[in-house]
């Protein structure tokens, strides 16, 4: 597996690199505290002092967006981590078990995939009560079937390889075969799907936050920031424009990463 850099990949690494940097060092980079109220400077347009303007209680939006990178990225990564780990375990186990178990698991996977995921997520998040953690769990669980299907398909082809059959003949147990031979070999495929999934996870989570089902004030999460800006949409353009742009740029970076990885790794392995 050789990784040749291409234009998409380089652009993605530049974009995402700077955003992760900002998220990690928000405390150093941001000019103000994200929650510092300043009654003298309410709803000010962008200026040298406040590059992205201020909100209805005078908080610096630029700082809030920088700090907002933390919860926004963390939720996106958690969703994809939960979905892919769960999916790989379910898919591998199902593929290796075969028979009736495999049939039942795959029917359930198809069932969940036949549902409109984000609408179900909306109802689930409403039932659990608004919180960023609930949101991550809900979206992560709903993503499992997607990875399970990919992992199972790979497992079915891998388990017929000579080295896997050999290991089994030598008496290796299912868990050992899974850990040693199957999972490492299906990782490249799963990684491509993960990078494509990050964009969807970020968009889905920030959209639910925007509706009010995720991050709660005063936490500066990007979707919640746009939600807070709704009253001021027409007169204070910067309030919605900058936090929304942060979501768009990050999500664009994830999309480029997925595209770039797909082109860089063997393109025959993955069909969109």
């Amino acid at each position: 597996m050789t990784l040749r850099l291409n234009a998409s990949l380089v652009a993605a690494l530049l974009i995402l690199g700077s955003i992760v940097f900002v998220a990690l060092f928000a405390g150093v980079v941001a000019p103000y505290s994200p929650n510092a109220i300043d009654a003298a400077h309410i709803l000010e347009p962008p200026s040298w002092h406040h590059p992205a303007g201020t909100d209805e209680v005078g908080r610096d939006l630029f700082s809030r967006i920088l700090f907002g990178a933390r919860p926004s990225l963390l939720v996106a990564f958690s969703i994809v981590a939960l979905a892919s780990t769960g999916g790989v375990i379910v898919g591998c186990a199902s593929g290796l078990a075969g028979g009736l178990i495999d049939t039942i698991v795959m029917r359930l996977v198809e069932l969940v995939m036949a549902l409109p995921g984000l609408v179900i997520a909306l109802a689930l998040a409403a039932a659990l009560g608004p919180s960023l953690v609930n949101l991550a769990i809900v979206l992560g669980l709903l993503g499992i079937p997607f990875y399970a299907r990919v992992a199972r398909a790979e497992t079915l082809s891998l388990r017929e390889r000579a080295y896997v059959r050999g290991a089994r003949t030598m008496g290796a147990g299912t868990l050992f075969v899974m850990r040693r031979h199957i999972v490492p070999n299906l990782l490249p495929t799963v990684i491509i799907f993960m990078s494509l999934g990050l964009s969807g996870a970020l968009l889905g989570a920030s959209a639910l936050s925007f509706i009010g089902l995720g991050a709660q004030p005063p936490l500066a999460e990007w979707g919640a920031l746009v939600n807070a800006s709704r009253t001021y949409m027409l007169d204070q353009w910067w309030y919605a424009a900058f936090p929304g742009a942060a979501v768009a740029v990050t999500s664009f970076g994830f999309t480029l990463l997925g595209d770039g990885l797909r082109d860089a790794l063997d393109p025959k392995n993955v069909k969109a």
Binding site: E110, A114, L115, P116, A127, A207, V226, F254, D259, A272
Partner: protein, 334 residues
């Protein structure tokens, strides 16, 4: 073909059963106290007791589920906590507005996405291709809750070209279908028709821009695959004009999977319209649900989720059937 149909229909029954189990679980099991959620935050202790016995929440889950199914079979989704009206009626009243919006957006998205996808595929690795690819990557990355405010700011607030909210500013025509484009024409009211079109313009543009990128991406991929097939080379070798090869041979085959794209687009819009409608104050089902979430009107959220799921499953069935009629290979494979 018969076995394929039978398998699809069996799966449909299975999925519909699954939908009800999922919505039942979300409304009856997931919340710590379903009665409180269903009664709303302002309910008193005696009201809660009443709701608990009324819904049978003290009974075993299987009994509760059967009750739930029986109510659904009667079209009873419960009543809105805010208006007290049946949820099914409330949603049905708002459905035409949503369908009109989604239908127009779908047409626009396909009208832009398909030609761009074909163009990019036939000029692979040219600047056109790079432009379309970058554009579609941007289109699938942009959040709806950002694009909509930006378009409203530009076309409504700054330029004043288009209205930024609502469906109509003039007196509505007599309602026959609930679709304003149809009703205004039936009433012969040209002014109202133009007004309806101008109100549709921005929300449709937003939804279509968000979806066209995905369509272009998929069409491009399919086209490139088909253009590499032997029969395309044969058609070219036998001297057919390039235009004819692309339209008659390649596009026709590349468009078959587009039926699937249609299904995906509708799913995307089902959700996208929730946010778009809320931002454009569009009086449809999506806007209604966002308001319900804000008002903690939980039964409405559940009713919407159930109906949207059933609609989605139905769309997917139609997509599968279309697929089968269009592609003989699938029919044979059964």
């Amino acid at each position: 073909m018969a076995t394929f149909l039978l398998r699809r229909l069996t799966f449909l029954v299975f999925v519909l059963f699954g939908v009800t189990v999922v919505t039942f679980a979300i409304s009856h099991i997931v919340p710590g106290d379903p009665a409180r959620l269903l009664a709303g935050p302002r309910a008193s202790a005696s009201q809660l007791r009443e709701i608990r016995s009324e819904l049978g929440l003290d009974q075993p889950l299987t009994t509760q589920y059967l009750r739930y199914m029986k109510q659904l079979a009667h079209g009873d989704l419960g009543n809105s906590l805010v208006t007290g009206r049946p949820i099914l009626t409330e949603l049905a009243d708002r459905l035409p507005a949503t369908l009109e919006l989604m239908f127009c957006a779908l047409i626009c998205s396909l009208a832009v996405g398909i030609p761009l996808g074909v163009l990019a595929a036939t000029r692979k690795k040219s600047w056109v291709d790079h432009l379309v690819r970058a554009g579609s990557a941007a289109s699938v990355s942009v959040p709806a809750f950002w694009l909509a405010p930006l378009l409203i700011l530009l076309f409504y607030s700054r330029l004043g070209w288009l209205p930024g909210s609502g469906r109509l500013d003039v007196d509505p025509p007599a309602a026959f279908t609930g679709f304003l484009l149809v009703d205004t024409l039936l009433a012969g009211d040209g002014r109202a028709f133009l007004d309806a079109v101008s109100h549709l313009a921005l929300p449709v543009l937003t939804l279509a821009l968000l979806d066209a990128g995905a369509v272009a991406r998929l069409v491009r991929g399919q086209m490139i695959d088909v253009l590499g097939e032997d029969y395309i080379r044969t058609a070219r070798a036998s001297g057919l004009p390039p235009r004819m090869v692309i339209v008659r041979h390649a596009l026709r085959n590349a468009l078959i999977p587009l039926v699937t794209v249609l299904g995906l687009s509708i799913a995307q819009m089902l959700y996208g319209s929730v946010i778009i409608e809320s931002l454009f104050a569009w009086p449809g089902t999506g806007n209604y649900v966002v308001t319900a979430i804000f008002n903690l009107d939980f039964p409405v959220v559940m009713g919407f989720a159930l109906l949207a799921s059933i609609a989605y499953v139905g769309v997917n069935l139609i997509v599968d059937l279309l697929y089968m009629t269009l592609d003989p290979r699938i029919r044979e494979a059964g």
